[in-house]
Amino acid sequence: MSHIHMEIEQLSFSYEKKVPVLKDISFFAGERESIGVIGANGVGKSTLLKLLVGLHLDFEGSIRIEEIPLEKKTLGKIREKIGYVFQDADSQLFMPNVFEDAAFAPRNYGLPEEEVNRRVEMALRAVHIEHLREKPIYKLSGGEKKLASIAVILTMLPDIILMDEPSIALDPRNRRNLIAILNQFDHLKIIASHDLDFIWDTCERTILMADGGIVCDGRTEDILRDEKLLEEHGLELPLSIYRNNHAGYAENANI
């Protein structure tokens, strides 16, 4: 993996004039970091991710990936480095079956079919769904779809992975499986979620957003333990911490 990094400076954005959604966001994301972006619904987490991958270019401020500024000219080059996993896998997967969908990106990059095959194999193996290779998308379960939507971006060999609410609609087993898989990746990861337990298990660093801006940026361990801070911004302690902090919780729950 290369020494990729991402630098965001004074980023502001609005969908409609005069209603700013993101306000003056700055942070630096270094190689191999895994960063959780948390915050209540509607604070602009998804919008931030979409900006980072260049889905809206009319922002103020700057986004640089390895010193290359994100703009129309550099869009193609930058997108090759970034894999964006949609919140809704149904919108991400559009080809008839898993193989075709995973082959879509490498084929677009003009790779020979042998290499396409090799990459698809690699990607499916990375998320443990080799057996689903020929399966039609509409026959996949929710958890399988989520894994497939990660596989289809891995075929681009991205340096950066962005994920929007990856744990949504996953049952506990699929959720654990996803956490284990993500923790094996050594990409630079940015995960937007309001599932704090998920962030606790996958990210070392957390950025807390409120009202379109960054409230606090630090070690996940510090931020997710700060009950008062979280409560002020409409979030609750991760369950695992809650259990520790409130001794007797388990006993009470058993009554």
């Binding site: 991400q92 559009f94 879509f104 677009n108």
Partner: protein
């Protein structure tokens, strides 16, 4: 299963059917498109009283259904929406054209009846031919062949996307009607008053979804052209298939022999 989920299922299973690995599916898509177009052209060009000759054209669908190991019943079932439409087209002919044209045993057959049957058969055959193409060829391959025929990139991509979006649209429709039905139990269908809002909802949601799919494509390097892995090579058997059908179809259409055979039954 509700109507809509059945529609989704059928679109998707047609897709799955086209992806199977039977030899007829593996034929070069360009060859299949050419044969299909030739067949439709020949079929439609029969004069309106020429039932005998037209009957002989049944050879093509019959052979393809047999050789392609496709279920004829399944085909009919899928076409049940289109077929009545096709048949309605000719239904007024008997009233306009009452002149006696032929005798079937002792029963007089008027020109109108004859032309009605001819018209209906043309419709049925054409629909079958298109079904046979779609059931044995994936949309991607059809588009690939259309690009080989130098149809504009934009047009071909549109076609492909429309096909993909039909799935999206029907899925959204399914979700909306299910949500409606759950909150209006015991009601048959959807109340007329709710139609406007539901259709509006459907449109908005589908547009949203379509936009996301487009974004997903762009994020994965899509630049207006679909790539299909290896170039599909024209092989010996493709040429043979094309030649045999071209010769057979032209013979069926042009040689008076077939009309004679047909008229034996009249």
């Amino acid at each position: 299963m509700s109507n809509i989920s059945r529609t989704i299922y059928e679109i998707q299973s047609l897709d799955a059917l086209a992806k199977e690995k039977r030899w007829i599916n593996e034929l070069h898509p360009l060859v299949k498109i050419c044969v299909t177009m030739l067949y439709i052209g020949m079929t439609v060009s029969f004069p309106k009283y020429c039932l005998g000759g037209l009957l002989a054209m049944a050879v093509y669908p019959v052979i393809l259904f047999t050789v392609g190991e496709l279920s004829f019943r399944a085909g009919l079932r899928r076409l049940r929406i289109v077929l009545p439409l096709v048949c309605v087209v000719g239904v007024f002919n008997p009233f306009f054209d009452r002149e006696i044209y032929a005798y079937l045993g002792k029963v007089a057959v008027s020109g109108g009846v004859l032309s009605m049957v001819t018209l209906m058969l043309k419709g049925v055959f054409t629909v079958f031919a298109s079904y046979l193409l779609i059931a044995t060829t994936t949309v991607e391959k059809i588009c690939y062949a259309l690009r080989m025929l130098h149809l504009p990139k934009l047009f071909v991509t549109q076609l492909l996307l429309i096909y993909r979006y039909i799935g999206v649209l029907s899925e959204e429709a399914g979700r909306i009607t299910r949500a409606y039905e759950l909150r209006a139990p015991g009601q048959k269908g959807i109340h007329v008053k709710a139609w406007g809002t539901l259709v509006g909802q459907l449109l908005l949601r589908s547009m949203d979804r379509a936009e996301q799919i487009y974004e997903s494509m762009c994020l994965r390097g899509y630049q207006g052209e679909f790539y299909y892995g290896d170039k599909i090579k024209m092989r010996g058997r493709d040429i043979v298939y094309l030649c045999i059908w071209t010769a057979a179809l032209i013979a069926l259409r042009c040689l008076p022999v077939t009309e004679k055979i047909g008229s034996l039954f009249m």
